[in-house]
């Protein structure tokens, strides 16, 4: 009889330990894509601006590793990461943009104001590509190797300190 009386106490301490551990962990609310390590799903997107062509998933199957940047003109953090994208472009990285729920005029205005680091920009009005690659927000940046496989996902805007890390991920993907 007596050991059973300890059960509630033990269960509670299991919970308290778990809760204490979770409190000590930095809260990570991001939902990671489970497509990392898998092949990019097939898609084609029409151009989102007059200056750049649209995007076709086959484009990622040849050449160097590339960045796939999910962004939108209405998204504030996207303005914040514009400088870092520019920096990556200057390092010779090819960046392909996917504009989520956006109008060409807004896209044009954004690119004039904040610079255009993209070689291609696809227009994803229904978040189809976003859903297909498991992206849960804007902005997000995916590293795609030269064979069309997603190797890395960066959630949120790219800060200054993330640039070397992304370059490293691109280098790894290139091997």
């Amino acid at each position: 009889m007596s050991w059973r009386l300890w059960l509630p106490f033990l269960l509670f301490f299991g919970f308290a330990g778990l809760a204490a551990y979770q409190l000590s962990q930095p809260k990570d609310d991001t939902i990671k894509s489970t497509m990392v390590g898998k092949e990019l799903p097939y898609f084609t997107l029409p151009p989102a601006s007059l200056e750049r062509p649209g995007v076709d998933s086959r484009y990622f199957y040849e050449g160097e590793p590339k960045l796939l940047n999910i962004w939108a003109s209405w998204c504030l953090p996207c303005i914040a990461e514009a400088a870092q994208l520019e920096q990556l472009k200057d390092e010779g990285v090819e960046i392909v943009g996917v504009a989520i729920r956006d109008e060409p005029t807004d896209v044009m205005r954004f690119l004039t104001q904040h610079g255009n680091p993209y070689t291609r920009i696809g227009r994803d009005d229904l978040s189809e590509v976003q859903l297909a690659i498991g992206s849960s927000g804007v902005p997000e940046t995916f590293v795609i190797d030269g064979k069309g496989v997603i190797t890395y996902q960066h959630v949120g805007d790219i800060r200054h300190e993330h640039v070397p890390m992304l370059l490293e991920e691109l280098r790894k993907a290139g091997r």
Binding site: D29, I31, K32, S33, T34, M35, A72, S73, W74, L76, I100, R101, D102, E103, D106, D125, L126, S127, E128, Q130, L131, A132, I133, G134, S136, G137
Partner: protein, 134 residues
């Protein structure tokens, strides 16, 4: 009930108007013409979690991304996909998180194992308790 939750919504909520200039996806707020298919889609949507809003099903949310997910669900159901196939498609992208209906796996088995144990335990307690006559 959701008051506490709603409170934080202030902190997190990007004003809805700022989430995109494009209109909602065609089937975000439109039902399928076939009522049977719509019923299937609706049941499925109630069990899928809105990725952006964190604690609502996509059937209960005004977030644009929930609308886009509803669109995906409806067109896939309309195209004749099985609801479980649609669920698997989303789970392949977002993991177990996207489904409110846990699917038995290495990580979720206790959710399915514990209730039967509880039922057995409940039966045992009642049986033992009552067998001892007054």
């Amino acid at each position: 009930m959701r008051d506490l939750l709603a409170l934080l919504a202030i902190v997190l909520a990007v004003p809805l108007a700022a989430q995109g200039s494009a209109p909602p996806a065609p089937y975000a707020y439109r039902q399928l013409d076939d009522p049977d298919q719509e019923a299937v889609a609706r049941e499925l949507m109630h069990t899928l979690r809105c990725i952006r809003c964190q604690s609502q099903s996509i059937a209960d949310s005004d977030a644009p991304m929930a609308g886009d997910m509803r669109h995906q669900v409806r067109i896939r159901i309309a195209a004749g996909e099985e609801p479980e196939a649609v669920r698997r498609w989303l789970m392949a992208r977002y993991g177990d998180y996207v489904s409110y209906e846990p699917v038995m796996s290495a990580t979720t088995w206790p959710l399915f194992a514990i209730p039967p144990i509880l039922a057995l335990l409940a039966g045992l307690i009642v049986w033992r308790r009552l067998r001892r006559r007054a």
